[in-house]
């Protein structure tokens, strides 16, 4: 039975590697910039949702305020670059570190809350942060920050002529988030998180320090999401509070994981691959009059999938005996 388990882990890893290689080859055939753009966003949301899944899926602490860490990553990178000339690569790490620290500082009071009360706290805190940034003049307030374009360069992580570098970075990010999850899944932390989600009292009686487990999950999750935010700032080269810290980002991080299979290894990837292209397409083909239609599509999808497959899309494949169910 030990080998059975090890086999499954290895199969996941091989499958991920194959998918990554296939994804890396796609731009060789798909030259359309619009489609490439959608692919970048899909990979980015796969990475974000995978990171969100660590805290909310595995550890069971549902956060609807992860836009905060996304925005922190974006703002840290943009501010460091425009005000101090710090390269985005360092900005990314700084944004990740700041987010991880803030996630733990916020977790300190919030992890005493359970269930819905925790969710409400995450929403409120993200909204407060949004208001603060909107009124912070040095950081551009509501107008935001225009990241000056200084030509194509990996060093400055700016590319004006081609989307491809962004595509490969987003792919790398998605792979890293997936791999971190894969690795954590069979670590002490992975078991502790799932135990905390299922039954904190029983977990505590087995020597799991519930509070620390939640803090660990929050830090890892916030770090990765902030790196995603940094990437997004470079990708769009203009950020304002609403466009990187708005509530919709919190939802867009949660939805792929929820639709794909919350607390599973493959759920976020699967969810993102289906949801993001769909919303981008509906937005451009029917979304002219506003955001309404793509939101209707979300709603309809969520209702349909949660009715038909309460355990998410991964349950169709039943790849993971146990974990996916």
């Amino acid at each position: 039975m030990d080998t059975h388990f090890a086999q499954r882990r290895r199969r996941d890893l091989i499958m991920a590697a194959c998918l990554a290689v296939i994804a890396a080859l796609v731009p060789l055939f798909v030259k359309d910039v619009y489609v490439q753009n959608i692919m970048v966003l899909t990979l980015m949301y796969a990475a974000l949702s995978q990171s969100w899944n660590i805290l909310s899926g595995y550890c069971g602490q549902i956060s609807l305020g992860h836009a905060l860490y996304f925005g922190l990553g974006a703002y840290t990178t943009a501010l460091l670059f425009t005000k101090f000339g710090v390269l985005p690569w360092f900005g990314m790490l700084a944004g990740g570190a700041i987010s991880a620290v803030i996630a733990m500082a916020l977790g300190y009071p919030c992890f005493r809350l359970r269930g819905h009360y925790f969710v409400i706290a995450t929403i409120v805190i993200a909204e407060i942060a949004l208001l603060l940034i909107q009124n912070w003049d040095w950081a551009g307030a509501a107008l935001g920050i225009d990241i000056p374009v200084r030509g194509d360069s990996w060093l400055k992580f700016q590319f004006t002529r081609s989307k491809l570098p962004y595509f490969y970075f987003a792919l790398a990010l998605a792979c890293i988030a997936w791999f971190v999850t894969w690795w954590l899944e069979d670590s002490k932390w992975g078991y502790w998180w799932r135990a905390v989600k299922d039954n904190p009292d029983a977990a505590e009686s087995l020597g799991v320090v519930v509070f620390n487990s939640k803090m660990g999950a929050a830090a890892v999750s916030a770090f990765l999401v902030a790196v995603g935010g940094s990437f997004y700032a470079q990708f769009v080269s203009y950020i304002d509070p609403e466009s990187v810290m708005g509530f919709q980002f919190s939802l867009l991080m949660a939805l792929p994981a929820v639709l794909g299979g919350i607390g599973t290894l493959w759920g976020p990837v699967l969810g993102a691959v289906i949801l993001i292209p769909l919303t981008e397409l509906t937005r451009s083909f029917v979304g002219g009059s506003g955001r309404g239609v793509d939101l209707i599509v979300y709603g309809a999808l969520i209702v349909a999938i949660s009715l038909a497959l309460p355990r998410g899309l991964v349950s169709v494949f039943s790849l993971r005996k146990g974990a996916a169910r």
């Binding site: 039975m1 030990d2 059975h4 388990f5 069979d186 670590s187 002490k188 078991y191 502790w192 799932r194 135990a195 989600k197 299922d198 039954n199 009292d201 029983a202 977990a203 505590e204 009686s205 087995l206 020597g207 799991v208 320090v209 519930v210 607390g263 005996k321 146990g322 169910r325």
Partner: protein, 243 residues
């Protein structure tokens, strides 16, 4: 040799309700001690105090020569207190083996070894065949055994069993009794709360009877069951003939 567990003048009040008043008990190494008493006697509260779910209002708890009164549950587990819950608390979305691995991780940092250890414990508890099943798919008696297995995986010195035999069929209960004996044979001390007198009494070395939050009597099982005070506590004064 000193006792493994000692409670010294332990009180627990919930508002105006006194759940435990001045409870002093001790459990020796290698013993199987039964904690019995009618509903509302304060057994589960005392269990929670020993396991560290909450600190007592007053009094102290000594485990293995150390004052653990203020230690949280996780740290008591680290020191060797394992427990089961009266209402089973399996990790329902995890497989049976994964449930036990959570317990095994406290003594084994390497995943491969923790997994192996968990498997051994499952074999010991007769659950190895169910290792890859989801905990949610187990029948009630198996869930009880999973509770025991999970606690055993933490390699406890003292195992607290909270009504693990209650609500089982006679055959299942008998399997449970044998499991408890096997556990003791490995050197683990057992303190068990139990309702069903006929099952517990042949199993335990010593019985402590709680009533209305106080220790009523303690002693050999056959003495305890004949004690008039115990009979009156369980059945009412009318039945305590000769009291």
């Amino acid at each position: 040799m000193t006792a493994l567990l000692e409670t010294r003048g332990v009180w627990q009040r919930f508002g105006g309700l006194v759940a435990n008043s001045d409870v002093s008990i001790s459990v020796g190494r290698g013993e199987i001690v039964g904690l019995i008493g009618p509903n509302g006697a304060g057994k589960s509260t005392l269990f929670n105090l020993i396991a560290g779910v909450l600190p007592p209002t007053q009094g102290s708890i000594i485990f293995d020569g150390e004052d653990v009164t203020r230690l949280p549950a996780a740290e008591r587990c680290q020191r060797g207190v394992g427990r089961t819950f009266q209402v089973v608390k399996s990790f329902e979305t995890m497989t049976v083996i994964d449930n036990v691995i959570v317990g095994a991780l406290i003594r084994n940092t390497k995943m491969r070894i923790a997994r192996q250890k968990a498997y051994e414990v499952l074999e010991f508890c007769g659950l190895a065949a169910r290792a890859d099943k989801l905990a949610a798919d187990l029948v009630p008696s198996e869930k009880r055994r999973l509770e025991v297995a999970r606690a055993l995986a933490t390699e406890p010195k003292l195992l607290l069993l909270d009504e693990v035999l209650t609500g089982l069929t006679p055959v299942e209960a008998q399997t449970g009794v044998e499991l408890v004996r096997k556990v003791r044979a490995t050197g683990v001390t057992v303190l068990m709360v139990e309702h069903v007198m006929e099952i517990v009494m042949p199993l335990v070395d010593r019985a402590i009877v709680l009533n209305l939050g106080k220790v009523l009597v303690e002693g050999k099982p056959n003495e305890v069951v004949r004690n008039p005070e115990v009979i009156s506590a369980y059945l009412g004064d009318r039945h305590a003939v000769g009291a």
